[in-house]
């Protein structure tokens, strides 16, 4: 089961869960993904230790997709 997660004030919220074979769950995950992008979040796929990839389309094969907010110099 793949997960779309948003980091927020609760620690994190699972926005969607899907399996590649289950089309309705994928569609619902894609909708949630696009809504988060529209809110200005960035989507990151952790690719094992030390690696992460920013994506603009939901990678259906990913185990975990994390929505993060923009960062800035302090």
């Amino acid at each position: 089961m793949s997960r779309l997660v948003r980091m927020d004030r609760t620690g994190h919220t699972t926005l969607a869960e899907w399996t590649a074979a289950d089309e309705p769950s994928v569609e619902s995950a894609v909708t949630a993904f696009r809504e988060e992008l529209d809110r200005g979040s960035f989507a990151v796929v952790p690719r094992g230790e030390g690696r992460a990839e920013q994506v603009t389309e939901l990678p259906v094969d990913a185990d975990l997709v994390v929505m993060r907010r923009p960062i800035a110099g302090g």
Binding site: R9, G11, P46, A72
Partner: protein
Amino acid sequence: MAQAASAPGVQQALPELASVYWRPRVDEDVLRRRGTLWTTVTVAHVVPFVAIAVLIVVLQPLAVAVSLIALAKAWLIPALYAQRGANVVRPKRRLDEEPERRALGLLGDLVGHEARELYAATGLVLERGALGVWLVGEAGAVLVRPGRRRVFCYCIRVPADELPSADRTSHLLLALREDEAGFATVANLAFSGARWRLRRRLDRRMRPALAAAARAASAR
């Protein structure tokens, strides 16, 4: 412990770079130049005060108190710069226990066992990168350069105070993993100098993380 790099074949730039388009992208040369500049500025602060201290004693030995004040300033100014560096990883206010626990769970999923233990003990995540070894906090990061003598302290944060501490760290960690050079470009440089200077100003709890980063940097 982790290894920061982009996925093979993936060329990606941190989107936040657009907000600092005027800055040159950080690379080895940029870091070397900035390090040299910081050393030059430190020397330019220290040498005149030391020279004045010596001169005063030579000209008028009874004015030794004034000489000591000049020496104190020569010591204090670099120490204040190092304090500014240490402040980038100073812990912030904690939220309620439950959000912190959930955020810690996600951060734990992102890092290896060793890095998780170090984070629990020090509040910093150790991450190996191409530019050196990073210690990522919730509102900043320290880069220990290969050779482990020089550190760069960067102020960088997610502007959302309602986020739990571990989530703020996860934000920075993911951005660092996406694009290490972009991360260092977006961040504001607060201090660059000798590791021992930073160590003296760092919270005692965090010093083992700096030592671990130095060990990892020396192994490169």
